[in-house]
Amino acid sequence: MHSKRMKRLDSRAAWGYVFVLPTLLFVLIMNIWPIINSVYISFTDASGFSTPHWIGFGNYVKIFHSSLIGSASINTVIYAVVSVVVGTFLSLILAVALNEKMKGRAVFRTLYFLPVVSTPAAIAMVWRWLLNKDFGLVNYVLSFFGIKGPNWMGDPHWVLTAVIIVGIWSGIGYNMIILLGGMQDIPSEYYEAAQLDGAGKTRQFFNITMPLLSPTLFFVLVTSVIGSLQVFDLIFVMLDKSNPAISSARSIVYIFYDETFAKGNQGYGAAIAVVLLLVILVLTMIMMKLQKKWVTYDK
């Protein structure tokens, strides 16, 4: 009897291994090993053609002296800060608005979500056309207001703004849905009680919605920061390589792609990826620390 029980327990454990094995093997081969491999390659002059040599911190030194990386970092930070702040703010407003019971709520939600299901390459192309300086719809609409629209895609002063606009436009729906999900978890009794106490909509928002939504808002902020630091698709499709303004919009991941795969500087490219990883980890840790100041977890 006792041994039979033992055997059953053992076979249960064996099933446990069988269940996780495919995922575990995959993660070890496709994720954990590549992390180690990338770090290793970043210390070599690997180029895909000759045998790589160990060059210590050579690639990292090169990164810190590269003006290309410098300007790409600035572009990326500007993109991240503006798109996260404006994008989160707009999606929060939308989520509050669409959380109200009203006519056409489902239709609005559907429309705001459309860009989330569209291919970034298609989005980028349509916006290239909308932002075309001579024939684009945007500059035509601006002309109604007496504004002469800029050369969005060709002027180094405007090209990053163009990318940011498209980035915000395509990300709003996603964050809105996540925030809406968080809002729908807030018990309606809280609002009813507040109403009985005579608290207006604004008070309700700051005293009920914001504190109870703060964990969701924190999630949205962290994922948006991480995602925006990795911006690539939009820039890659919106701007041709030959575009004279491209240096004002190239991001870190764009440079990573260009160096590693277009130019074949694998060692250097790997080092860029490692630096990006460290920056993202440090930022995430800082955000985790700061969250204690404003995020309220109930219970």
Binding site: V20, M30, L277
Partner: protein, 274 residues
Amino acid sequence: MKKKLTPSRVVFYIVLIVGAFIMVMPFYWGIKTSMETLPQSLQVPPKLGITSFNFDNYKAVWENLPFATFFWNTIVMVVIRVVVSTVLSAMAGYAIARIKFPGVNLIFIIILIPMMIPGQIYTLPQYLMMSKLGILNTITALVIPGLASTFGTFLMRQFFMSVPVELEEAGRLDGASPWKIFTKIMLPLAKAPMVSLAIFTGLGSWKDLMWPLVVNSDADKLPLSAGLALLQGQYTTNFPQLMAGSLLSTIPMIILYIIFQKQFIEGIATSGGK
């Protein structure tokens, strides 16, 4: 409580409508331009209404680029990735949540690590792996990195943690094997989170651009996302044709979205840890 149409509510509606207009306008403008000839599209000032119903651009794009192949490659990639990774995530998530076995916590931590790492770290080593295996420029190489999902495993683990233990205890007393309990009792319960996960991973692979660009250079081995980027190189300024190509590659997903709206939105909301 009846809502009255106060001035603030009117403003509120106007803002929502203007916002919705900005969200939809690019789609409308893309469709409109895609049906025009090049000279029609370059009229100044542009006509705001639809001026022509002409599908020549679609025909031209379809004939000049292997669009049917792009579609096929995309479907193969997305379907295989979604089916395999959803099933594997459910299995691993269930084991981690419910089966006590030595090393389970360590395994869970190993699976969590990649969730915090930006994807670019993997791209080069994965590319070198495909190159060593001699499978660059194949659909296999396109599919492989999405066959399992650490995020999915995490999500399914969270779900199975919330399922009452009593439900499987009955099966366990009857002497059913963990495999039977998993397939007969747990999987049917996990339908909703699995659908959410499937949509989330499906959308992700559908939109992925860098991996296809890196691993496949032959046009007939590319999915839509990367094939479309190729189109841009060919017709840099022929916007009506570019619009036709963009719409061709976006409309299938939009149709799916409109049919399965509820699941899509739940799928995305789930990714937010709901």
